[in-house]
């Protein structure tokens, strides 16, 4: 029965946490800028406003892509351990997670492709290029973890870490964790990798045509993406959590760290971003994989 | 000297063949080439005859009385040579005929200039 509850609870917690993190980020960013900043619940106010507005739709694809994207992100939260709870632990493990992670960006991509806005197209092309950039090290990292622990199940990964110590604290995986930290801002879409939704150049990119409820959905999706990115890192590298509270605390710490980077950096051009991502993080991650294989992982 | 005596025909024959071949190789004029062919054929005919020749043999005709003891040259090469001569003449005639026609087309019989078909 408790298991069934978590089928509902996981996505809800993810949503709430994601939105709160967004609010936190705005507040924290303001404080770092020496501003007062909005209330921490400002994203909720925004969401209420979006939902009460009337939006323009560019057709079926425009709507359905967004829905698919949000649904995909919601489903993904079911695969990620939240503390000791993982609603869908037996459906394919990390490989499925990697692939379901695609649904979010792809849905947005279809949707904004359907909008026929050139800014959106540019944003999507940047998003995909950036994804290509960080997926290369990310895949190496995930493979290292899977090879190191000899399992493709994320639940197993968390269990083994809780028994044997965090991945970030064991030697070859340390490198992977390092690489992961280096690419985490890119996964979360933060500066210096904020090339996708570059408001100043391409009018916030993929979401340019979303208004009203559409924008609300995409904001929710963004919140979920943040949650998922952090959750994956915590689960893979920081040993997950023995219960949800610890888990969320770890997420918070990681997020604040990322935020500090976000606050003080300008951003890369997309090619600079890829060049960076394919150089240092990929090298470190590759070193981690090679060492893991050599050490008989 | 005995060598010469014994092989005179062969030397002559191959000499003629070589002369013919050299003519073919070194001359450019079609008529001269044909002449070379003729010389070569003559040489070959001589060679064939020489094979069947026995020193001081008589013509290979069996006299009525059986002619025991008479040494005759081998008749077969002579038969061959007859055929070969006929063939040679046929080829020669044909070659000359064609040379005339060729001259009509090219206005020359210099084989260095009749080189449209190559490669």
């Amino acid at each position: 029965m408790t298991k069934m509850i978590w089928y509902v609870l996981s996505p809800l917690i993810a949503l709430v946490v994601g939105i709160l993190l967004m609010g936190l980020s705005r507040k924290l960013l303001a404080r770092i800028h020496w501003r007062v900043g909005p209330p921490i619940l400002q994203p909720v106010i925004d969401l209420i406003r979006f939902l009460s507005q009337k939006s323009a739709s560019h057709g079926f694809l425009f709507d359905s892509g967004l829905i698919l994207s949000l649904a995909g992100s919601l489903v993904l939260t079911l695969f990620l351990p939240l503390g000791q709870y993982t609603p869908m632990s037996g459906s394919g493990g990390l490989l499925v997670i990697l692939y379901v992670m695609l649904l979010g960006p792809l849905g947005i991509a279809f949707s904004s492709g359907g909008a026929a806005n050139p800014y959106a197209s540019i944003g999507i092309s940047r998003k995909l290029m950036l994804a290509m950039g960080y997926e290369l090290p990310l895949l190496l990292i995930v493979l290292t973890v899977m090879t190191g622990y000899r399992t493709i199940s994320i639940v197993e990964v968390v269990r083994i870490q809780q028994a044997q110590g965090w991945a970030i604290a064991t030697f070859p995986l340390l490198l992977s964790a390092l690489a992961y930290i280096l690419i985490l801002p890119a996964i979360l879409g933060m500066r210096p990798f904020e090339v996708v939704g570059a408001a100043q150049e391409i009018s916030s990119g993929p979401v340019v045509e979303f208004g009203g409820p559409h924008l609300a959905l995409s904001t929710l999706q963004h919140a979920l993406t943040t949650y998922i990115g952090l959750s994956l890192f915590v689960n893979l590298m920081l040993g997950g959590g023995s219960n949800p509270v610890f888990f969320l605390l770890k997420m918070l710490v990681v997020f604040v760290l990322c935020l500090c980077v976000h606050a003080v950096f300008p951003r890369f051009r997309v090619d600079q971003a890829i060049r960076y991502l394919w150089r240092w993080p990929a090298l470190v991650a590759m070193a981690g994989l090679v060492l893991t294989v050599l050490m008989g992982g | 000297m005995t060598f010469l005596n014994e092989y005179a025909f062969y030397i002559g024959a191959f000499g003629l063949i070589l002369i013919g071949l050299l003519t073919i190789l070194l001359r450019h004029h079609l008529i001269k080439l044909i002449i070379g062919l003729s010389i070569m054929e003559t040489g070959i005919n001589l060679f064939l005859i020489a094979i069947g020749y026995i020193s001081r043999g008589t013509a290979p005709i069996f006299p009525v009385d059986g002619g025991a003891g008479t040494v005759m040259v081998d008749p077969v090469p002579q038969a061959l040579v007859l055929t070969a001569i006929v063939i040679g003449v046929a080829v020669l005639a044909m070659a000359l005929g064609m040379a005339i026609r060729l001259h009509g087309h090219y206005g020359t019989l210099d084989m260095r200039r009749i080189k449209e078909l190559k490669w």
Binding site: V96, G212, L217 | -
Partner: protein, 620 residues
Amino acid sequence: MTGVEIILAAAFAGALLTWFIGRTSSTAGSAFAVAVLLALTALVALLHGRVYETVFYRGFLGLPMSLRTDSLSWFFAMATTVLAALSGIFSLSYMKDRKNTGFFNTMLLLVNAAMLGVVFSGDLLSFFIFWEIMSWSTFLLISFNRGQGVNAGLKYIVMSLVGSMAMLVGIGWLLGAFGTLNIARLSELIPSASGGHQLVLLLLFGIAFGIKNAVMPLHTWLPDAYTEAPSPFTAVLSGMLTRMGIFGFLLILYVMAGAARVLHSPGSTVPTYNVVLAWLGAVTIVVPTFIAMLQNDAKRLLAWHGIGQGGYMILGMAFGTGMGLAGGIFHTLNHAIYIVLLFMSVGAVQHRTGGVRDLNSLGGLARKMPVAFIGALMGISGLIGVPLTNGFVSKWMIYRTLILGGAPFLAFAALIGSWGTILSVYKFLHNVFLGQLPSKYENVRSSPVSMKIPILVLSFAILLFGILPGLPLKVIDGIVVSFGLPSLDVSLWGIASEAGTLNTVNLFAALAVGVLVVLAFVRILGRSERVGQDSNYSAGCGVPRDRYNYTARYYDPLFRMISPYLKDFFSTLYDGLARGIGSLCEAVRMIYTGYVSSYVMYILLFISAMIFIHLTWNPW
């Protein structure tokens, strides 16, 4: 006559009859061709579960030619006929207003018949004969479109001949060594051959099958051929014909060399061969996938993916555990389904836009051609391996095998290939169907019914096999078991094995609920009004439609980085080789100078050289 013989006879007779019917009326010919293909599908379906071998012809040089059917043959034959039938239906309207429809139909049927012959042949001689018929009829079809197709066809047939000749040597050697070409007999005899001999044999056959399957250094024929062939035939070519290479590899590695040898004898050369093959497969995944990103021609882009996806099959098959093998075979089927679908969608677009397939000049056709768009969407989803499409399941199986089999680098190649795929196929989808609709395509009509049917059927198949992968996997499990490998734990919804399970129905249910929740949420709260594509924010200016389509140089920043490294090195190499041979030939023919004395000199030189050699060294 047994079932297989009837099928083959019907296939070849059908091809012949199509020609004669097509002479009288091209419409009747096309209809007849489709009827034959459908009938063949039914006949092949009837063959399910039968395993036997029958000698059908003794008249060839004293070697009995036989046909054989088992689960492997049936699986490939079924896929072949179904896809050919769908392509046939598709071609009904595609070829309608073109010249030489009769020829096209005949050749399509002939190719299909030859492919059936290849999969059903019970000895290597008939295998080779059908293989060659397949090759030359393919050549004629690739050249069919004229223009660049002529060069593509020539490239194809020359490379194909290289493969065939290698295979011929292999067959000749087998015949010399064992005195039989029967596959069943050979599978008993080959293990007794020495390792070196086996390696040579595998190399020779590997060249043939590698060329057909476009494994990386031997792939250069494929992009041109796929691009230039008529779209319905490109579908057949990409779907099953190219994958006859996979069938061949399965035949030599698992049927003839034997799975037990492939997997469990560390000393022999076969496993090494496997490893090399697997690495080739990995290279074949990565490089073509990235090259595909650079393409601006819809069919060419898909063609490069055809190469890349072939790498997955090779990888899964060569790695060789039960699940990898099943994944490889399943991927063959899945790839066939979605690539056929994609080429059909492109074909439909070409049909309606007047042959345009340049990605930079299309756009926004999703509104005009919804069915083609659905086809393309499902197709690229399968190609990427989006969960709940068929491609996901087979890729999952391959990844799992590689990761748990201790080959993370191969797995990395496979995974990064998938991510590269996303980029290029999204570009394909976006530039053809999404974005602004150029005004010249304002009046494009939806695709004709005979194109819609196969597209919808295949789209459905992608979802069906993605949600219930057990349907085909049961058959594939039978194949794996017949190779002597342990059975997989297949259920209708996926795979439950010792480490890591896959449950697609679960996933489907979750996603469906997710979509429903979001949909309900949106329905309650959302009120939106439709606006046209002109109502787009572009800094407050109106959208000048034809100049405002962001399609050209879609991934330019990335290209500037990677394109210097993505030269198709082997293509250049082979072209250079061909040019070199050409100039060598030009040089060689200079010995015929045209000067008669030199000719005579050759004769005399020959004679005198021989005599000289004889007198000097006396070698004879």
